[in-house]
Symmetry: D2
Subunit: 110 residues, 4 copies
Amino acid sequence: MDDKTLLDTSGLTAALQRFADERDWNRHHSPRNLMLALVGEVGELAEIFQWLDDDAAMRLRDDPARFTHLQEEIADVLLYLTRLAMVTGVDLNQAVRDKMVKNAIKYPVP
Amino acid sequence: MDDKTLLDTSGLTAALQRFADERDWNRHHSPRNLMLALVGEVGELAEIFQWLDDDAAMRLRDDPARFTHLQEEIADVLLYLTRLAMVTGVDLNQAVRDKMVKNAIKYPVP
Amino acid sequence: MDDKTLLDTSGLTAALQRFADERDWNRHHSPRNLMLALVGEVGELAEIFQWLDDDAAMRLRDDPARFTHLQEEIADVLLYLTRLAMVTGVDLNQAVRDKMVKNAIKYPVP
Amino acid sequence: MDDKTLLDTSGLTAALQRFADERDWNRHHSPRNLMLALVGEVGELAEIFQWLDDDAAMRLRDDPARFTHLQEEIADVLLYLTRLAMVTGVDLNQAVRDKMVKNAIKYPVP
């Protein structure tokens, strides 16, 4: 299995770069700006779960408006994380693959 | 462009499911547990940047030990985010695609 | 210096307890709910700083609307943190004092 | 009730300023650095709760080592939050009092 068989973000990174280029946003996308923006989105994601018990958290799909909101916040976290990887020079596909290998060694199958 | 041309997490979601199954971890992976674990990893990622100025944050690649740490923390955030999407029933590829479309409408090219 | 000379949250903890009692909110204030709510507020606080350079971040006082927003988000983080300490049985004043002592040992004056 | 009857952080802010002065740390304590450091500590706090059910989260006091860890992480969040308020010019006592008044209006006693 090569890196992209596990995860392929190449289309997304190209689309995000084009999106930033077209809007002249690269100058705003410093690592620390993106890090803080990521934290903002993680906060919005956490708010979805804050007053739910575990059962209700599992049944968000049953409420279309909240489920759409959940989808959007999860996507926002991924978008900023991908962008943070891009500007710091991290190959997200390889990073994920390397971490999966490391986790498999750290937590062997019992 | 279909969803998986933008982003393809299908190999990763299969690998993460197998990883959890083999270790009997599914019972620990409630949405709220995964949300808190995600916050923990975001905190570790933020710590990398906390005392750096913008220039130093852009040059993490020049320090192999710190860059490996950066790669691992970015990967950890992605792994928990993917797992959170899985257990809440969110199709990450479609969610990202939908959000990119929404962002393109919200922020038209000037 | 006793604990309350350093920090005195006794009025606040009494006010927060009364506030929760009067609204029947204690049943919502589990540690994990409060932790997630705290993350939500930290996200809102981070958003204030996400696109600012360090100079602009220092001059938030010059913009009354944004400064009021900053005051509110900082307060929200403190309120949930205090409440989290309360429900887990942590004496915030003593915890802060103990940590200050520990920090003074860990980071001696050069 | 005046501001300091609700919350009195005056001793703590003085101690934190002296601590930073003695170690020449003020130059590191920009708002954004402190914000990221705060996120790091919130992440460490979240990790304490990530695999616990609500019952176990309520019983952290029964485990002295984990309870000490909880106390320290709660204190760390408060210390960075107080320092962030200091460098941005926010009066924490007044901010908390104003927010309590606002919350009482927003959520009237039923």
